[in-house]
Amino acid sequence: MQIARSHVLICGGTGCLSNNSMKLKEHLENKLKELDLEKEVQIIMTGCFGLCAEGPIIVVYPEGAMYSQVSIKELDTIAEEHLLKGRIVEKLLLANRTQAYDEEGHQVENTDFFKMQKRVALRNCGRINPENIDEYIAYDGYQALGKVLTEMTPQQVIDEITASGLRGRGGAGFPTGTKWKFAAASEGDVKYVACNADEGDPGAFMDRSVLEGDPHSVLEAMAIAGYATGAHQGFIYVRAEYPTAVKRLNIAIDQAREYGLLGKDIFGTGFDFDIELRLGAGAFVCGEETALMRSIEGHRGEPRPRPPFPAVKGIFDKPSMLNNVETYANICPIILNGAEWFASMGTEKSKGTKVFAVGGKINNTGLVEIEMGTPLREVIYNIGGGVPEGKKFKAAQTGGPSGGCIPASLIDTPMTYDDLNEIGSMMGSGGLIVMDEDNCMVDIAKFYLGFIVDESCGKCPPCRIGTKRMLELLEKITDGRGEEGDVERLEKLAKNIKASALCGLGQTAPNPVLSTIRHFRDEYDAHVRDKKCPAAVCKNLVRIVIDKDKCRSCGLCAKNCPVSCIRGERKVPYEIDYTKCIKCGACIERCPFNAISRES
């Protein structure tokens, strides 16, 4: 077969797909025909590069030139200049598009964003075509499975994983080797392994990117897990809201079956293993392991008390083992490079790397993989490019609705399981939401609790009723009806819920509230005592004011006010009728002189 002279990689992660990258691909195909380059240039749809803020991303090899925010018109320029004439279109390069990535040269690897990362779980994302098993195989795909099946005993596999120090990447950080050991030790003729791809934390999309960019790495690792624990059937529980991931998983499973890498007698060793997908219908609680297993069986996804643990009694009451997507994505490199290699990365108790989905008030929204123990500061300022508009960093939220906040004063905290737990946050699955001075921490706590109240399955009262009561208290505080003692009541309720809820969802639900109280008690007090919201977010506690010196009486605010509460005449500053104002902020947006603002 003809080897192409140039490879054009177009990002096909959900971030870039929603930025029209599929259209770009079709357009480029036509353009190449027009330029008679179709045989010389190969177009490959890949997984997420991690630079979602700059999408759609296109990389042209062999130069490794990375273009960002490419429009159809600009794509024509790239085709005509770069692909036809070999001139890199400098002005469209990522490095020249945004200051955040200013680095010499155009090579992908030279940008700050990539230089400081260590990509293990994301090793193939943005490098291979996820819909082509051959490309995965080219980069050592299925080598680990071959090695395990032909050279290692199940016990050796478990020992290797244990020695690597890998801990569950879904959030809690349970040692993976220990989990595998329990499942292997469990008696039973039928066992199952499962993959938790029910990624539900607001703002988290690491698992989605791995599944979209490198689905085979998960399939291969599950087969290894099956061999180690004695299972012959795997389930991937993936949310139906991830259509691209589901599609690519299905393609990957079909290809693996066709090659005999799934199915009967893999590598002629007599080992059988197959994988089925199960689609989740979007309930957050189904990310909890017992609820997930109930859902796989076809029942309503509700947790049940443990013990018995899933390793003893899981899916269809058989011994089962569940790991997170990212955990699986780490398995093959450990097998191929050895436990020592993996353990050499990270800190004493948190080995390896972790993927974070960085979002919120940050310049480089996207996906980053860093060595465990990297300080938060580095993630935010060096890789993330800092907070936009020169605003001040206030806090980062990790761990989603189960996690907590890291305040600016603790920005040098190393990102490890234990350090984050110590300051009242948690590693979680890897969502990292950055907040600046415009975010009200009480409001943030209210948001997460509101999410929990919506998503609580309702089986146990502490979670069903307790979180609702907590939300009511928070609403009371943000509405300006807070009383002395409300914060203490919140804390007491939180402790009770943590101690008595049935599953992980309820037990961790109060964390966002507790951690914001711990680090931002002054903001709570300002709401309760002074009836003020320091960040000017909580509607009932702010007023919209017109700066008389700045107002030029243009009347735009009055024209755009939906309740007609602004009045004025020429040469006289306009005024707001506070009895009618609904604080929608439309006037602030419209004022050409920045004369209108929120005041707490």
Partner: protein, 126 residues
């Protein structure tokens, strides 16, 4: 897939196709001037010959790429060959036949084809 050997064979085959994306591998680069002047002088068949030869000989450590006008349009089609250390050899007035010899003598056997190389005189007059 019934054996590891089968997997290894498939891996090698696929890897060859992807070698281009392996930026850290040490490779020689053949850079063909493909600006308007180069194309007009016949750079495209030269480029195609390089690609074909590289494929035919299964050379995985060579990248063929293009570049713009080097400014010496009179000497086009021009081709630069970079070795793994970045040293450059410039060939001028190329054609498909010459390209085949560059592959055979320079790329494969490490002997630059002196007779096709740019001379000091040409460089000064261009």
């Amino acid at each position: 897939m019934k054996s590891l050997a089968e997997l290894a064979a498939l891996r090698q085959k696929s890897l060859d196709k992807l070698n281009m994306r392996n930026e850290d591998s040490e490779r020689q680069r053949i850079v063909v001037g493909m600006a308007t002047c180069g194309i007009a002088a016949g750079a495209r068949p030269v480029m195609n010959t390089f690609v074909e030869e590289v494929n035919k000989r299964n050379l995985t450590d060579v990248a063929v790429s293009m570049t713009g006008c080097m400014g010496m349009c009179v000497l086009e089609p021009m081709v630069d060959v970079y070795d793994t250390k970045g040293n450059k050899t410039t060939y001028v007035h190329m054609n498909p036949e010459k390209a085949k010899r560059v592959i055979a003598e320079h790329i494969v056997n490490g002997q630059p084809v002196t007779e096709f190389m740019i001379t000091a005189e040409e460089a000064n007059n261009a």
